[in-house]
């Protein structure tokens, strides 16, 4: 039983989806219990796996029992790098499922089962991506997550949403194809698809390691993942796709998809190509860090220019992706950047989740889609607003939230790696975040927005004169509890940053003298 946990974790949501397809079409009430049960089973299995990793180290699971020779079957591997990521996926998907229970109804009641089928298949894909150790299997699972998210984004969205969805399809498919192409080049040079096997061959065989084909393979894999994670020049699809889709979809996709792509990038760097090859042989570190700096600055500036809350958050995601890519590429000689980036994956996912929850609640309950609509919202919705403040403070990087510590590790990595431009960009971005969120705080606390506010928000206010009945009705425990849990998790992750980072660092090649220098 215990050794089957990795498979159970991936498959439980899939079985849930099938059960909904079989029994949920007639009676929509069975959908949510099935969704919840399967996500809880997955979460339990994920926690179990993480626990096993803490005790015994890496878990290997060979699909269909094909173990020898390595690479004929498909290997799953849970190690220190992804153990926390699967727990994160479990927590986030379960919380969003609570959140979605009311939101789905708004779309098209008849489509509830299909929404949940796509939702659960997306969860399967995310779990699968995280634990697979097979380069091609990763592609298949990425396609599952992509297809389901195309469906989730395009269903019940507006005109802009549909246009964003087709752009997402085009970009996403090109990204996945680039990844596939890179894997093909690697396969042609190494003859295997298993990540660890590829790495062994690359390390053993200098001729293969130094060939152009492998460099091109790395480049295309990287480009594919960058498109998927919306790294700055390739981010075009993200803001519209995430801001014009239904709230519960945005809450699921925004925190998880980009972060999982960052995880995949780090996994590819560590488990396929190896840090030594990337940093010493290729030496692209400076270039990528500069790209990341541009991404951070551009994302922040673009966020500053937005009036819509969700769009602003989307551009913040673009900036945060810059943090993580830059952090991962700082240097190989100090692991602060890499472990900071991994820690930031966790912390940023929770922060984004929290903020998107709040944005979803606001847009639903008081029809506040733009920043100026938020006038006086803190008085009307104290709990939601408190959580928003917490999420915002985490984004800015105020202790003791996790956002502070992830920035702390990243900046430390930047300083030790000598990438001052990255440090400066991080500080600049924090400053921009502070400006952004304090602008919102101001409007939300003190009412009257600045005179240059846009004309049409008065009309909105007329429609929503009588807010309180709506609030009482809408902000139910189903919505509030996941929000509060997320906010608490942000603080907890911040408080326990030491053990978490230490746990993550076990995944990296041993550099013992640095490990001992923990704060």
């Amino acid at each position: 039983m215990i050794d089957q946990l990795p498979a159970i974790m991936v498959l439980a949501p899939m079985f849930g989806a099938l059960m909904i397809g079989l029994f949920g079409q007639k009676d929509h009430r069975v959908c949510f219990p099935i969704v919840f049960t399967s996500l809880i089973i997955s979460l339990g299995a994920a926690i179990g796996c993480a626990n096993l990793v803490t005790k015994d180290g890496t878990i290997d699971y060979f699909m269909a029992g094909w173990e020898e020779p390595l690479g004929i079957g498909i290997q799953l591997r849970i190690d220190h790098l992804n153990a926390l990521v699967i727990v994160l996926i479990g927590v986030a998907t379960t919380l969003v499922s609570f959140f979605s229970i009311r939101r789905v109804g708004a779309l098209d009641t008849e489509k509830t089962p299909h929404f949940y089928i796509l939702y659960l298949l997306l969860c399967t894909g995310l779990y699968g991506i995280t634990i697979t150790a097979d380069a091609f299997n990763l592609f298949v699972l990425v396609e599952i997550t992509s297809l389901t998210s195309y469906g989730l984004i395009a269903m019940g969205s507006s005109r802009r949403g549909t246009h964003a969805a087709i752009n997402y399809v085009l970009m996403g498919t090109i990204g996945a194809s680039f990844y596939l192409l890179g894997v093909g080049y690697l396969y042609l040079k190494t003859g295997t698809l298993n990540m660890h096997d590829i790495q062994a061959i690359l390390q053993a065989n200098e001729e293969v390691r130094n060939s152009n084909a492998v460099i091109i393979a790395f480049l295309f894999i990287l480009m594919g993942i960058w498109i998927k994670m919306a790294f700055f020049p390739l981010h075009g699809w993200l803001p519209n796709a995430y801001s014009y889709c239904p709230s519960s979809t945005a809450c699921l996709l925004a925190p998880l998809m980009t972060k999982i792509s960052v995880y995949v990038m780090i996994r590819v760097m560590i488990s396929i190509f190896g840090l030594e090859w990337i940093f010493i042989h290729l030496g692209w570190s400076h270039l990528v860090v500069i790209l990341a700096v541009i991404a951070i600055v551009a994302g922040s500036v673009l966020a500053l220019a937005q009036r819509e809350i969700k769009k602003m958050l989307c551009y913040l995601i673009v900036a945060e992706v810059g943090y993580m890519v830059g952090g991962a590429w700082l240097s190989d000689s100090n692991m602060w950047g890499l472990s900071g980036a991994m820690y930031h994956v966790l912390s940023d996912a929770l922060m984004t989740l929290c903020l998107f929850f709040v944005a979803g609640i606001w847009s639903k309950c008081i029809d506040a889609k733009e920043i100026d609509d938020l006038e006086g919202v803190f008085k009307k919705m104290p709990i939601t607003s408190a959580c928003f403040i917490l999420g915002a403070l985490a984004m800015i990087g105020v202790p003791p939230t996790s956002g502070f510590f992830s920035k702390f590790y990243l900046i430390r990595g930047g300083i030790e790696g000598g990438h001052w431009e990255y440090v400066a960009a991080l500080l600049f971005s924090s400053l921009v975040n502070a400006v952004l969120f304090f602008r919102i705080f101001e409007i939300a606390f003190f009412g009257k927005n600045p005179p240059e506010g846009h004309g049409h928000d008065e009309e909105h206010h007329d429609d929503h004169e009588d807010l309180h009945p709506v609030l009482e009705h809408e902000v139910s425990w189903r919505v509030t509890i996941p929000l509060i849990v997320t906010a608490v998790l942000i603080v907890l992750l911040g408080l326990f940053n030491g053990p978490v980072v230490e746990f993550i660092r076990e995944a990296f090649p041993p550099t013992s003298e640095i490990v001992s220098a923990r704060p």
Binding site: F136, T173, I174, G184, L193
Partner: protein
């Protein structure tokens, strides 16, 4: 020029073709305005990858990766000693047949598996398997993309991207 052709292009002919096809597809995706044309480009793009993968698995003078000892030879077993029909598949009898035929007798322990011992006679099966997956993924993606295009057409009455963008701009300024 001919030297370049012989030394660079000829040994990698398929790979050059796949790059050219793929770039045609990419060009269509980026430069064309019509959504359906973009999708056609996307399909070409994905199909080019299939050509690439299948080209990896090609071996000169090799055949398809299907062993042939279940076809005519199976009948031979039946013909020669009929009582072994049932277990012909699992027992060692096909092995006898091969040794009788003298095609692949190597005196190895596992006789009839010798049949396949020369990997050079068969194409590499792995790329075929991978591409079966990629084809299916391509079909599903194309279906979803077409569905979104229908929605676009329903909402905008056009599939030309510049017209859609113009209309979006208009509606934004109307707000």
């Amino acid at each position: 020029m001919s030297e370049f052709f012989e030394q660079t292009i000829q040994p990698h002919f398929n790979f050059w073709i796949y790059v050219i096809l793929m770039m045609l597809g990419l060009w269509a995706v980026i430069a064309k305005k019509n959504m359906i044309k973009k999708l056609i480009g996307l399909s070409i793009f994905q199909t080019a990858i299939i050509l690439f993968y299948v080209s990896i698995g090609v071996k000169e003078d090799a055949t398809i990766p299907i062993l042939d000892h279940h076809g005519p030879e199976h009948h031979e077993v039946v013909h020669e000693n009929g009582e072994h029909i049932e277990d012909a598949e699992t027992s060692a009898h096909p092995e006898e047949v091969h040794e009788k035929k003298g095609d692949h007798s190597h005196g190895d322990d596992h006789g009839h598996d010798d049949h396949a011992t020369d990997p050079d006679t068969m194409a590499n099966p792995l790329p075929h398997v991978l591409m079966l997956t990629a084809i299916v993924v391509g079909v599903a993606t194309l279906g979803v993309a077409l569905a979104i295009c229908q929605m676009l057409f329903k909402e905008f009455g056009t599939l030309e991207e510049d017209e859609i963008l113009a209309e979006l701009k208009d509606s934004a300024s109307d707000d």
